[in-house]
């Protein structure tokens, strides 16, 4: 069941939705093919990029005003060896030190905010703290409800709460783990 009203509390939203709708699948937003997305996310050896399609309250029922607004950060999965993409040894001819450097240093994650028409990508290497990251979210998403994004208990307040999905597919509150 999808809520058409705009409840502000993420928690109440969660409890009133069906299990099916809270189920998270892998894939690009708006597309049904989760398998291709899964391949893409693990297709990069060492690349820390995982795509999560937030299907909470979406899948055709998406209405701009009808969804909960949570800013989500998709956490990077540990780099798994690529199953799908066949890579020729020694191609492209890029020095290993350069390949490693690029792999290590590009830590792009996708950021989705419900209600935003498209996702953004940020490079985690460019930030030295959570606060900086959250500030940048404000800039990226132009949140109309611009409360200072304090990390608050979900139960208490109806604010934008940054969350992310870790590699065990659990939704985690941003801020518990030290930045590095």
């Amino acid at each position: 069941m999808v809520l058409k009203e705009e409840p502000k509390s993420p928690e109440s939203d969660v409890t009133s939705m069906s299990f099916e709708e809270t189920k998270l699948t892998l894939g690009l937003p708006g597309e049904g093919r989760s398998s291709a997305g899964a391949v893409k996310c693990s297709a990069k050896r060492g690349f820390v990029e995982t795509v999560v399609d937030l299907k909470v309250g979406s899948s055709g029922n998406c209405m701009p005003g009808g969804r909960d607004d949570t800013t989500t950060v998709i956490d990077s999965g540990a780099g798994k060896p690529p199953p799908a993409k066949e890579q020729v040894v020694g191609w492209p001819p890029v020095r290993s030190s350069r390949k490693k450097a690029i792999n290590e240093r590009f830590r792009y994650v996708k950021v989705a905010m419900d209600g935003a028409p498209f996702l953004r990508k940020v490079n985690l290497q460019c930030y030295s703290s959570y606060n900086q990251l959250l500030k940048d979210f404000d800039n990226l998403f132009d949140c109309s409800n611009k409360e200072e994004s304090k990390l608050m208990d979900v139960v208490k307040r109806m604010e934008y709460v940054p969350t992310y999905e870790d590699k065990d597919n659990d939704w985690m509150l941003v801020g518990d783990v030290p930045w590095k």
């Binding site: 297709a43 990069k44 050896r45 690349f47 690529p82 993409k85 890579q87 020729v88 040894v89 020694g90 191609w91 492209p92 001819p93 890029v94 020095r95 290993s96 030190s97 350069r98 390949k99 450097a101 690029i102 240093r105 590009f106 490079n123 290497q125 460019c126 930030y127 030295s128 900086q132």
Partner: protein, 572 residues
Amino acid sequence: MNYFPDEVVEHVFDFITSHKDRNSVSLVCKSWYKIERYSRQRVFIGNCYSITPQRLIARFPGLKSLTLKGKPHFADFNLVPHDWGGFVDPWIKALAKSRIGLEELRLKRMVVSDDSLELLSKSFPNFKSLVLVSCEGFTTDGVAAIAANCRFLRELDLQENEVEDHRGHWLSCFPESCTSLVSLNFACLKGEINLASLERLVARSPNLKSLRLNRVVPLDTLQKLLMRAPQLVDLGIGSYVDDPSSEVFSKLKAVIQLCNSIRSLSGFLEVAPCCMSAIYPICENLTFLNLSYAPGLQGNDLTKLVQHCRKLQRLWILDCIGDKGLGVVASTCKELQELRVFPSDPFDAGNAAVTEEGLVLISAGCPKLNSLLYFCHQMTNAALITVAKNCTNFIRFRLCILDPVKADPVTNQPLDEGFGAIVRSNKSLKRLSLSGLLTDQVFLYIGMYAKKLEMLSIAFAGDSNKGMLYVLNGCKKLRKLEIRDCPFGDVALLEDMGKYETMRSLWMSSCEVTLGACKTLAKKMPSLNVEIINESEQLEFSLDDRLLVDKMYLYRTLVGHRKDKPEYVLLL
């Protein structure tokens, strides 16, 4: 000239500095050979297995500066297994035993141990300069020995090495009495260093001109270092992340304005785009800019920066600059001679960052362009023909289309005509790397027109032996040929065996060369070492001569088989 005493001739030779010229001079007559060898101070050895250290020492007793290269070029791309060779240890041991007053050692693709570094540091009281490029096998302990023991060290330059980092103390090993540093590059080290030691070192090095930091050096240390060394000419920034509203950042902005000698800028191993504006004041004077290790700088950030760099001669950048960004480069950097565009996503050919369009724009806007390394997602014959019309000064032209056998996407044709145009119009071309869909035809063109070509790299190209033969017959100046995954076989390999004596080396992997042909070649040409790398389970080399060889590396040598080969290498 024979009427002059030796000292006069020697003095004349002082003005002849290039290796090629000195080599030629030594061949004129016995007398010149003798004078030349005693006065020779700098020696370059392109293949460490072509000669022994003992013979080097015997011929050039006045040696001060030695350059050595070890593994074949394709080792950079993981095509050469571990422990193949290229050990510097026997060289350092031999030099240490001798009376050579070594002052400078430059190594590329060699295996260097901590013991070697320690021996080096203790054996040559006047040792001044160590440059290690793409080397491996040592740790920061070896670096510490150099720092501690080389009292007159001027240059410690570590470029793209695999160094095991034992964290931090090496920098503190420079004694307080060491004030001679001119160049320090430790950008490739991964570990922590003592920042206070670094500041003190820079403070007591008034001659320091080149400083390249590693990733752990934060912005506020950078600011302090620049305060101490505003005379720097070459700066490699480590971490460049801060809050632009911070006090530290304001201080940095102020001190950068004082650094008006900086001509070369690199690093940004960690970077926050919002901080880049502090760099603009020094951009005006830059001649070399290397942002190829700077993640997170998007096309816009790069473009904004480049717009300030009107005197740029060399630019190394990631492909996220995009074709449009390259257009900005083309309209801003009129002095550009060298451009290298690296892939930011080597494994995913899906994100088209630069295409043939960017290259065409550059060729149209930068008349002085002579050196190119360009990774892109596609290329067309039309674009290459246009580039060939616009640029006739190329010395190095290396094009890498990320999808190995991609045809011209517009016409679906091979890229023979495009590359043909390049070699036809660039008569000074010395180095060429090909990619994309290519037939024997491109090699016909190369053989016909690339008369000055010295190094050629080929992958996934050609149809038959004819391709390789066109090159071997036509390119009279060829020194290094490296081929992978091409249908070239025994006929091509054996047609002109004497040719390989005029070359430094030939590499062929995943081609169609048989063991029998390699044996024939080795037998007929004792001046060549023919090495087979066999990594498969079968160590039985007495197999069928019809067996296709996986990797073959041959090189001319004066000293026969090397004694340090690993098990998987067969010397024929």
